[in-house]
């Protein structure tokens, strides 16, 4: 009798422990990252740093289409160099803009729910009317691509032209403006898309992947001066 009572208590304890562990793993953060994987569209972009000439046509097109005021920008082309000796010099360029992370730190810290990941497209965007300009997202973004729009006084950043070009069925303004076709935009879940073909055919890298943000802005590294793969 005594033996079975002890067994019963042991069993109860094990059950409780198991239930609590199960509860912990089903955290809100885990739920958050699952939502985007169910949709048919997951937009991403590739920047070919070999093709980029640093002309800033993308920056100017973005400014015009998305009405970005002077002094701030949604996209930057970072220039490094010159490499080599005059007159045979070269530069390297890298696009700096929202990476549309799947586990976006900006979305996690937003206290009002203004920063969000669009479930249908995977785009990280801002509900302007909900943003109170607290700048938590600006501090949280490891890529430092967010800014306060001086006109709306809300957080602003690249949204793959969600409100402007994509609505009209067009590619983002920067992609259309690029003279050397260095930018490729498309759906990661469409196996036939130019984006997926490119990702499968060329080695790419993403910035700060070790932070676990799962960014969706891919870069094709400049071969000049690098190891050929």
């Amino acid at each position: 009798m005594l033996h079975s009572k002890r067994q019963f208590l042991k069993g109860c304890g094990a059950l409780l422990a198991g239930a609590s562990v199960y509860g912990i793993t089903q955290s809100p953060l885990a739920e958050h990252s699952d939502t985007s994987s169910e949709a048919d569209i997951k937009y991403a972009m590739v920047h070919d740093e070999n093709a980029c000439i640093g002309c800033n046509a993308c920056v100017e097109a973005c400014r015009e289409v998305n009405q970005v005021p002077e002094g701030v920008t949604r996209v930057k082309i970072e220039r490094r160099g010159p490499f080599g000796e005059y007159p045979n010099q070269s530069y390297r360029f890298s696009r700096v803009s929202c990476q549309h992370c799947e586990a976006a730190p900006c979305v996690r810290v937003c206290p009002t729910g203004a920063a969000y990941i669009d479930k249908d497209t995977g785009i990280v965007a801002v509900h302007e009317e909900r943003c109170v300009g607290c700048q938590y997202c600006i501090a949280a973004c490891p890529y430092q691509v967010r800014f306060i729009n001086p006109e709306t006084r809300t957080a602003d950043k690249c949204d793959f032209c969600q409100q402007t070009q994509l609505k009209q069925g067009l590619q983002p303004a920067c992609v259309l403006a690029c003279p050397t076709k260095a930018l490729t935009f498309g759906n990661l879940k469409d196996a036939d898309s130019a984006l997926v073909h490119l990702l499968k055919s060329k080695p790419t890298y993403r910035a700060k992947v070790d932070l676990g943000t799962r960014p969706k802005l891919f870069h094709i590294q400049t071969i000049d001066g690098e190891i050929m793969l």
């Binding site: 005059y86 045979n88 050397t180």
Partner: protein, 162 residues
């Protein structure tokens, strides 16, 4: 009395000097003006024929620089006749891009040019200076480009056909 008039004259001299200094046009030329050896030459002979297309109106026409046609275009030689070896600039020039640039680089310094615009470096052996810059007119269009125009200028050459 004598002291006072002396003070006044010194004061006047200083103020006149300051006035002259202030009214001088402030021109920032990205060039180190090196001594031009061709002192005996003048542009008069050239301008007898080249009345319209020989005028130098822009920054290079600044009398302080005292640039004459021969400094860039070379000695006349037997010029109006065939086989003359005058330097021509621009896309139709028989000179190579590097030969054309060498003429400009006798005064201009490549590092100063790179500070003004990094694109000078990447075009050093590919595009002649005169393909973008214009020296003879009153103002060089390259000096008053807006950001958008600057980008579009790149696009005109670098456009990849779809």
């Amino acid at each position: 009395m004598c002291h006072i008039s002396r003070y006044i004259s010194i004061l006047l001299t200083f103020s006149a000097a300051a006035l002259i200094y202030c009214t001088q046009p402030v021109i920032s030329v990205a060039a180190e003006v090196t001594a031009i050896t061709n002192t005996s030459a003048s542009s008069d002979t050239c301008l007898k024929c080249h009345k319209r297309n020989g005028q130098m109106l822009g920054l290079h026409g600044n009398p302080g620089l005292a640039i004459v046609c021969q400094d860039c275009h070379g000695e006349k030689g037997n010029h109006p006749k065939k086989g003359a070896s005058l330097n021509q600039f621009g896309i139709d020039s028989p000179l190579s891009v590097q030969q054309q640039a060498a003429v400009c680089l006798t005064c201009h310094d490549n590092e100063t040019l790179a500070d003004a615009d990094w694109t000078h470096n990447v075009h050093a052996v590919r595009v002649g200076c005169a393909q973008c810059h214009q020296l003879h007119p009153e103002s060089d269009p390259m000096l008053s480009l807006s950001r958008q125009q600057h980008s579009q200028l790149c696009v005109t050459c670098h456009k990849v056909n779809p």
